[in-house]
C-alpha cells in the first residue's frame, strides 16, 4: 500500500486517491505548434526512477496534489500542493514525504 501525505489532510492510503499521471507536462499556449500539442497529449517521459506526478484526493479533500515518487522503489520523495515548487522540495535535503 502506498501512503501519500496529502498536504491538506495528512497521510492517507493510496485507495483514497486517483492517479493523474505525469505532473511535469505543461499545457502549451493556444498558438503553439502541432508538435507541441502532440507532445502534450501523447508524449511521456516515463522515467525509471524519480517521477513527478499528479494525484487527486478523491475520497478526501478532492484537491489535486503533486507527488514525487520513485517508480522503481515506490519511495515517496516529496509531496506538495499544486502551487508548491515540487522541484525545490525534491532538492531539499529535509524532505517532507512519507515512506511508501
Amino acid at each position: 500500500m502506498i501512503r501519500l501525505d496529502c498536504p491538506h489532510c495528512g497521510p492517507r492510503d493510496q485507495t483514497e486517491f486517483n492517479y493523474g499521471g505525469d505532473g511535469r507536462i505543461e499545457r502549451p499556449g493556444d498558438d503553439a505548434s502541432l508538435t507541441a500539442w502532440n507532445d502534450f497529449v501523447y508524449t511521456r517521459d516515463n522515467p525509471r526512477g524519480p517521477h513527478v506526478e499528479l494525484w487527486q484526493h478523491t475520497a478526501g479533500c478532492r484537491q489535486w496534489i503533486k507527488v514525487a515518487r520513485d517508480t522503481l522503489t515506490h519511495e515517496i520523495i516529496a509531496v506538495g500542493t499544486m502551487g508548491d515548487d515540487i522541484e525545490a522540495k525534491i532538492a531539499d535535503p529535509d524532505r517532507g514525504g512519507v515512506e511508501a
Binding site: 492517479y19 499521471g21 497529449v41 511521456r44 516515463n46 517521477h51 506526478e53 517508480t71 515506490h74
Partner: protein
C-alpha cells in the same frame, strides 16, 4: 540438434531420457551482425525466427539482459484471442491467431495451444446488445464469434454466479478459436527454432547504449562489449523508453505493472477462458490444474516487477462475484510484470525516424497473443524497410496524424486501456 518426433521420444525413452541434447547453443557474441534484436522475450525471439525463416536473414543476434523468457512472456495469463473491432487491430490479431494455429508444427515444438474458446460474460440487456454488435463486426472481418444465451453459458460453466443480485449473467460472447498456450514453451520453441536457423541467442547481455555514425544507429554498447549491426530492433516491452531515451526518441508509452495469480491445483473445473463483464477479471485453468487469473493494472507508472495490495483485493472481489467457489481456494503464487502501455491501447511495430533503428512496443496487456504476429510483422518491417499489410496501421506517427486505434475509447490515459 534432434528433430522432436515420436521416434526421438521413443529412442530417448529407451535411453532413460539421458540422451537429449541442449535445445539451443550458448554462443559468444560476434563483433557484427546484420540484425540485432534487443530483448529475448516472446517478441524478440519470434522476430529473430521469422527474420531467418521468411527473409533468409540468419546473421542475427538476440540480446537478452537476463535469461530467455524471464520477462513478461513467462509472466502472463496466456490468453490468446483476436476478438477486436477496430481496423489495425482486427487484421493484425487475426493474422497472429492464424499463425498460432500452425505454430507447434512450424516450430517443431509443442506450445500447447489449446483453442478452448474465450467467453466474455454479459450482465445486462445493454451489454448483450453491445456484444451482438461486436460479434457481428468480428464476423464481417472474418473472425469467428458466437453470441451465447444464458442457458448456453450455463451449460458450459454451471459454477458461475448466474443469479448474482448486482451482476446477473445474461449471456456472453464467445470466440471459439481463442484459448490459451503454454507461455514458457512459446519462448523456448521460438528460441530453439531460431537457433536452429543460425540465430545467436546471447543471454546476460544488457544493451546499455547505441553506437551512431552520422545519425544512423550502427551498433549497441552492451555489458558484454560493443556489437555492431546493420539494423537494430527493440523488443524490450516495459523497458522501451529507457532505451529510446538514449537516442532522444520520445514515445507515447508509460510503464505499468500488471499482476497475475495462480491458485492451488484442482481437478478440471474451468474448460474455457472466461471473463467478467462487469469489471476486469479473466480466468482459465492450467494443465497442472491451477486456476490462472488476473484483472486490472495497479494504475500508476512503475518499473517494480511486483504489485500492490489494493489491486489484489480488487481482483479477488471480482473473481468471487463471478465464481463464488473461488472464495474457498488458496492462492499459491502471485507476481507482476512491467507492461509497455501505449496512449491508445494498441501496439507499435515500425521503423523509427532514426536510420537503422526499429521499434516494437505498446503491447499493453495483450502482447502474448500477439507473439507470432508481432515477430512476423517486425521481421518484415526490419527486412524490407516497410510495414507488412498486417501492421500498416500500427505506425508510430499515427498519434501525430490523429489515427489512433483506441479500442476501448478511453483516450490518452494508459492506465485505462
Amino acid at each position: 540438434m534432434t528433430h522432436y518426433s515420436v521416434f526421438s521420444l521413443l529412442k530417448n525413452t529407451l535411453g532413460g531420457h539421458k540422451g537429449w541434447p541442449r535445445a539451443w547453443r550458448d554462443p559468444e557474441p560476434k563483433a557484427r551482425y546484420d540484425v540485432i534484436v534487443v530483448g529475448g522475450g516472446g517478441h524478440g525471439l519470434a522476430t529473430a525466427y521469422y527474420l531467418a525463416k521468411n527473409h533468409g536473414i540468419t546473421n542475427v543476434a538476440v540480446l537478452e539482459r537476463g535469461y530467455l523468457g524471464g520477462g513478461n512472456v513467462g509472466r502472463n495469463t496466456t490468453i490468446v484471442r483476436s476478438n477486436y473491432e477496430l481496423p489495425g487491430n482486427t487484421e493484425f490479431y487475426e493474422h497472429s491467431l492464424k499463425l498460432w494455429e500452425g505454430l507447434s508444427q512450424d516450430l517443431n515444438y509443442n506450445v500447447m495451444f489449446s483453442q478452448r474458446s474465450v467467453i466474455n460474460l454479459a450482465h445486462s440487456d445493454g451489454q448483450m446488445d453491445a456484444y451482438a454488435r461486436r460479434g457481428n463486426r468480428m464476423r464481417i472481418n472474418g473472425i469467428d464469434s458466437e453470441l451465447l444465451s444464458r442457458d448456453e453459458v450455463r451449460e458450459k460453466a454451471p459454477y458461475l454466479s448466474f443469479e448474482n443480485a448486482r451482476f446477473p449473467i445474461y449471456g456472453g460472447l464467445s470466440q471459439p478459436r481463442g484459448g490459451t498456450a503454454r507461455h514458457d514453451a512459446v519462448a523456448w520453441g521460438f528460441a530453439r527454432a531460431a537457433d536452429l536457423r543460425g540465430v545467436d541467442l546471447i543471454q546476460n547481455c544488457e544493451v546499455t547504449g547505441f553506437i551512431r555514425e552520422g545519425g544512423r544507429v550502427t551498433g549497441v554498447e552492451t555489458t558484454r562489449g560493443t556489437i555492431m549491426a546493420g539494423k537494430v530492433g527493440l523488443a524490450v516491452a516495459g523497458s522501451t523508453t529507457e532505451l529510446t531515451r538514449k537516442v532522444g526518441l520520445d514515445l507515447p508509452i508509460e510503464s505499468h505493472v500488471l499482476q497475475a495469480f495462480v491458485s492451488e491445483g484442482l481437478k478440471p473445473m474451468i474448460d474455457q477462458v472466461i471473463t467478467f463483464g462487469a469489471g476486469h477479471f479473466y480466468i482459465s485453468q492450467s494443465d497442472k490444474g491451477g486456476l490462472v487469473f488476473g484483472g486490472d493494472l495497479d494504475g500508476y507508472n512503475t518499473y517494480a516487477q511486483r504489485g500492490n495490495l489494493p489491486l489484489i483485493e480488487d481482483v479477488m472481489t471480482e473473481g468471487v462475484a463471478m465464481i463464488p467457489a473461488l472464495s474457498r481456494l488458496r492462492l499459491l503464487r502471485h507476481w507482476g510484470g512491467i507492461m509497455d502501455m501505449s496512449m491508445d491501447g494498441s501496439p507499435i511495430i515500425d521503423k523509427t525516424p532514426i536510420d537503422g533503428l526499429y521499434l516494437n512496443t505498446g503491447w499493453c496487456y495483450g502482447g502474448f497473443k500477439a507473439t507470432p504476429g508481432s515477430g512476423w510483422c517486425f521481421a518484415h518491417t526490419i527486412a524490407r524497410d516497410e510495414p507488412s499489410p498486417y501492421n500498416t496501421r500500427l505506425r508510430l506517427d499515427r498519434f501525430a496524424r490523429g489515427h489512433t486505434i483506441d479500442e476501448k475509447g478511453s483516450g490518452p490515459v494508459p492506465k485505462k486501456h
